[in-house]
Structures are given as C-alpha cells and as structure tokens.
Amino acid sequence: MSLELLGGRILAPYFGSGIYVWGSIITIFMLSLSIGYLLGGRLSVHNPSSSRFAAIFAVAAVLLLPLTIYAQGIMEFIFLRVEDPRYGSLVTSIVLFGLPTVILGMISPYSVRLLVDNVAESGRVAGSLYFVSTLGSAIGTLMTSFYFVLWFEVNTIIILLIGCLALLAALAFTADRIFAK
C-alpha cells in the first residue's frame, strides 16, 4: 500500500494527478496481486521451504530497485510515445509496478502453506495471515501518507521498503538454516 501511494507521487510529474492516474495504479496493483496470489499458490506446492520463501522477498526487493534509478527515464520514454495520459499512466504502472507487485502477491499464499500444519487449523491460520497483512497495509498507508512523505524523499521511502524486504528475506533464510539443523 505504501508503494501504491508513492505510485501517485511518482506518476504525477508526467501524467498529472487526475483520477485516471489513481485508476491506472489501483488497476495494476490489483491485477498484479491477483496474478501473484495464483503463482504463489502454485509455487507452494513444490518443496515449500523458508529458503524459497526468503527468495520471494529477495526477488521483490531487487525488482523494486530500478524504480529508484530508472523511473524518470522510463516515464519519459512512455510519455513521448503515448499521447493520452490515461493510457500513458496505465502503461507506466505496468512497467514500474507490475512485476514487483506480482512477486509481493506471492507472499501471502506461500505463508499459508508454510504455517498450516493440518487442514483443521487452516482457516484460523489464513484468518491470522489476512489480519496481519491487511493491518500491515493499513499501517503502511497511514505512515506513508501522514509522516514518511513529510520526513523523507520518495526514493528514500522506496529504499526503506527495499531494506525491510531484504531484512525479512535474511530472517527467513536464517530461520530455515537454524531449524534445518
């Protein structure tokens, strides 16, 4: 959600802050998350492990990195080729946010697989996960829009997000090693 909010900021210089810009961003986030859920579920079937789980975080972190470096160039490229700001912002959202959001979407279903030990408690585990992830989204939204934008630059916030993902990847990886022994 933090990323989604920043998306509005990132796109505004090239495509304005019209309602269609938010329409593009939300559409692409929803679409990417849905694909991510599907892929995460598929992936969880084959040899699920915390190391693989860690890899999802790591890949998401790496895929977010270009956003801080190439966003300007990419937006300029699209701006010059797509005249209509509606489709311009839609294409930009796909290119900038599509892939990292797909990967982020894989986390939830994969977590379910790792945390569920038996069918009887699967509902409870899934409920807890939805609780944590949606609560996290709410906190991310609030902190980003109320405070982070006041304290940091947009790129600094994205680097913080990348840092968090990398840290979680490291934690999950280490946990796997410890428990494997």
């Binding site: 090239y14 495509f15 109320f146 947009v154």
Partner: protein, 309 residues
Amino acid sequence: MSIRLLLLLLLFLTPHASAEADKYGVLHEERSLYTRILVHQNKDLLCLKFTLVRSDSNQSCKDLAQPKRMVFSYAQMSMAALLFNPNPDRILIVGLGGGTLPMALRELTPDAVIDTVEIDPAVIRVATDYFGYRTDAQNLIFTEDARVFGKRAKIKGQRYDLIILDAFNGDYIPEHLMTVEYLQEMRDLLTPDGTLVANTFSSSNLYHHESNSYRQVFGDFINYRRQDTGNRVILIPQAQRNSDTRTPLSEELLLDRARALEADLRPYDVPIVRIAADVAIAAGAKPDWNLRKRPLSDQYSPANLLRKR
C-alpha cells in the same frame, strides 16, 4: 383538508428563496471529479467557491454592477505583468477559476493568443455559464493537467511571453504544481524576455518552502505582498535569464509604463500606478522568509502538510 388548503399550505411552506435568489444565496452547486463547486451570490457579488466551510475559499468573484472590476487584489496585482511587457504575444494561464484573468487580458492585449489550462471540465462549464468566460480563436482552453500540458508544449516548441500560475483546488495549490521541477518546466516555456507571475499566499508556513522553490529555479524575484491581504504575487520579469543578467527596472520606467496603462486598466479598477510604485519597492527588498526551509521537489512535496507546521 381540502386540496386548495393543502396547496395554500405548501405555498406557505416553500422557502421564498425563489424571489430572493437573484440577490443572495447559492445559485449552483456541483461535485466535480476534483472539488466541490459552488456559485454564490451576495447582492451584486457573484463568487465561485470550491468549498463551503471556509469563508476565504472564494476562487473568483464578479461584481455584477461593474462586471469588469477585478474584485480580488491578487488579480489586480497580477496585472503588474503588463508593466514589464505591455504587449505579450503569447500568454499561458494555469488555472481558469471564473476566467477573470483570461477575459481581462483578452481585452487588454487584443493581439495576444491566450492559452488557459484547466483540469476540471466542471470549472470551465461554470465559468462559461455564470462568469461570462468565452473562448475564441485567440482565447483557447485546454482541459488538461498542467504538468502534462507543460511537458507536451515544450516538446512542440511552444514559448510564451507571459505565464501566470494560478492553479488552486479547495485546499491550496496542487502539490505537483509547486515543485522546482514544475517551475523549471514553466521556465523552459518562456521566451528569453518572458515574464512569470505566480499567485500564492503568504499566510502559512508553506510560504518559506514555496519562496525557496522559486528562488532555486529563478534566483531573485520580485516578492509583491500587500499589507491588507494574505496574497503574495511572485513577479519574475526576464525569468529565463539568470537574475544578475536581467535588465534593472527603474521606478521612473515602471511609473511611465503604469501611466500609459492607466486609462485601459481603469474599468478593471486596477490602481496600476500605485502597483508600479509598490513593485519598485518590492524589487529592491531583501527576502523576508526563512532561507533555510527546504524547497519542494517531485521527490519531496508534502506541501499541504507543511502549511500548519
């Protein structure tokens, strides 16, 4: 109860606003994609508002008894632009409001081509229906975001002799229209001797951040404030040049030009001679804001959060 009695009662209960509507009240109200639009009349004063809560939310007002009169000081102050170049060929206005500025400039500079950018189609409709805004071959409207318009105009090689930044929403200026990158884009759209005018307010903490953003892009500028209002109009003649290579403007020159404009501006109630004297003083003044406050950029633009700090 008979039908007749019921009708009589209904008539009695109907607010007699209909008889008063031409003198006082809300004539039009709509929720657009961007803001809430209200057209409010108080005696002869017809005003466009974007919110109802605050009393200072008037975007534009028209005096029906004297339709040309510029009701707001900021509009009068913006006319100072004509002191630097009385005959601009191409004018860009960002933000339509009630259309006061484009309509006045259309008459004052009849040879100029005026491009006005307004994001909200509802504002354009209301300006046309209630405030007499009219487009023609030399007075054009573009329903677009100003950032998008500016970038496209630059690619097309468009240049303007005068740019007036006057985009407001119900809150203040949209955040992406206050950043140094945006100001640089506007600067790139000016002819070498072109003037930039920006209508802002001096009444919040944002004043410092905003002033430093203009300073970063344009160097020194004329910070035109009036004691009686919270309006602050930024005037930058020859805005494309570095501030130390701009031609100095003497008070005599400004006053001479003001006297030449005086008759034309009288119907608009613009005290241009007094404005010229004020501008001459403002041109020599030192910055009165905190120079250490951070300029706003596309990376850092929590503009409307900074207002109250």
